[in-house]
């Protein structure tokens, strides 16, 4: 392949290796300690700590690979969504309870969490809106 900027560059593979490596370490940690979280979530927390300690350059392989994967996050959820064809009959038989519980639990959760976080934010920063710069001393802190 000669299409990349640096022919023979291993950056792409390096990035994937870091991410899958942290996934494996997360899985091992969860299995050895019996923590009630999925290995990938443990891997995420471990990678966060590692990034905070090592502070890699903005162009490092792990950051580039992560941005690449996250920009197509919706792609990875498609197969599970297509599962609707396999459960249609179950959904149809209990459509009302499923639909009401689905919508109400979502909207109440969304609004309550949004209000709670707004109320608990430091004063003076609460009036900020999405897209506006942070309050003085707020965003930079």
């Amino acid at each position: 392949m000669t299409s990349s900027a640096r022919p023979g560059s291993t950056r792409f593979v390096d990035g994937l290796l870091w991410l899958t490596g942290f996934w494996l370490v997360g899985e091992l940690l969860v299995r050895l300690t019996g923590l009630p979280v999925p290995g990938a979530v443990a891997g995420m927390l471990l990678l966060f700590v590692a990034l905070q300690v090592r502070r890699p350059a903005a162009t490092s392989s792990v950051l580039t690979a992560a941005d690449g994967l996250l920009s197509h996050l919706q792609l990875l959820f498609i197969p599970a969504g297509v599962g609707i064809v396999a459960v249609l009959a179950t959904v149809r038989d209990a459509a009302l309870p499923l639909a009401v519980a689905f919508v109400v639990s979502w909207v109440v959760g969304l609004v309550l969490v949004g209000w709670t976080v707004t109320l608990l934010l430091p004063r003076g920063d609460r009036g900020r809106r999405t897209g506006e710069p942070g309050a003085p001393g707020g965003a930079a802190s």
């Binding site: 990678l47 990034l51 990875l76 959820f77 498609i78 064809v85 519980a101 969490v113 709670t116 999405t130």
Partner: protein, 242 residues
């Protein structure tokens, strides 16, 4: 000639190629439609892709299991993608201290509300215990919600579908609902989106505002953690109440 066509179709429908190509192609189609519509909220690529593939499978009489032979290769990437959510969080780490209290209160509150209302309302409306357990973990990200559903006795395949569709509903309607409820701060909006609608809600937040997206990603990770910890306790209490 028709024999060869039949044999080729039989090969294709059982080959991993079909699921991979359908998923990548439908996602690409979803992105094109999303761009052409001026990035209208209702045209989330995942929604368009799911509808297109589901229609194809039904018309071509291909089963979901046959589709998954290839599609599972795409699902595998959710592992490294979940780990990758550490990166936007790392970039917003400076905000973390200020948000520690709001997060430690807001995320568990979100888990308690979505698990309790999800489980309780299905039960109260006569959906039965199994479906109520299936609804309970739907706000956590798919790899987590599927495992938790199996663990508590729900139908994992249906939990996966509910998880994806709550994400799609949130990506389409969430920002509108929050604006109506006067939730305007990007940190509050991000945490709320990530708490109730995991990676799909996060992808909408990332598209709206990078700061909002980073906190949606963080809230999604914490929600996965909090749901896994709290769901056995909540369900033990709820099954006595309802």
């Amino acid at each position: 000639m028709t024999d060869q066509l039949d044999a080729t179709w039989t090969w294709l429908r059982t080959s991993p190629l079909l699921g991979v190509l359908l998923t990548l192609g439908a996602y690409r189609l979803g992105r094109v439609v999303h761009e052409r519509s001026g990035r209208h909220a209702a045209t989330q690529p995942v929604l368009i892709a799911v509808v297109a593939i589901a229609a194809f499978l039904l018309l071509a009489d291909v089963s979901y299991d046959e589709y998954l032979r290839g599609a599972d290769l795409v699902v595998f990437l959710l592992g490294p993608a979940t780990v990758a959510l550490a990166v936007p969080l790392h970039r917003q780490a400076a905000h973390l201290k200020r948000l520690l209290v709001p997060l430690l209160v807001g995320v568990p509150l979100g888990v308690v509300v979505s698990v309790s209302l999800g489980y309780g309302l299905v039960r109260l409306l006569g959906g039965g215990d199994e479906l109520a357990l299936t609804m309970a973990p739907k706000a956590a990200t798919t790899p987590v919600s599927i495992v938790l559903s199996e663990q508590v006795g729900g139908i994992a395949a249906l939990t996966a579908v509910l998880t994806i569709f709550v994400g799609i509903m949130s990506a389409v309607l969430g920002p509108w609902v929050m604006t109506r409820a006067r939730i305007r701060h990007p940190h509050a909006r991000g945490v709320a989106m990530g708490s109730v609608s995991h990676g799909i809600g996060t992808s909408r937040s990332l598209a709206d505002d990078p700061e909002e997206g980073a906190f949606a990603g963080l809230a999604m990770g914490l929600t996965a953690f909090a749901t896994a910890v709290l769901i056995p306790l909540l369900l033990a209490g709820l099954s006595r109440l309802v």
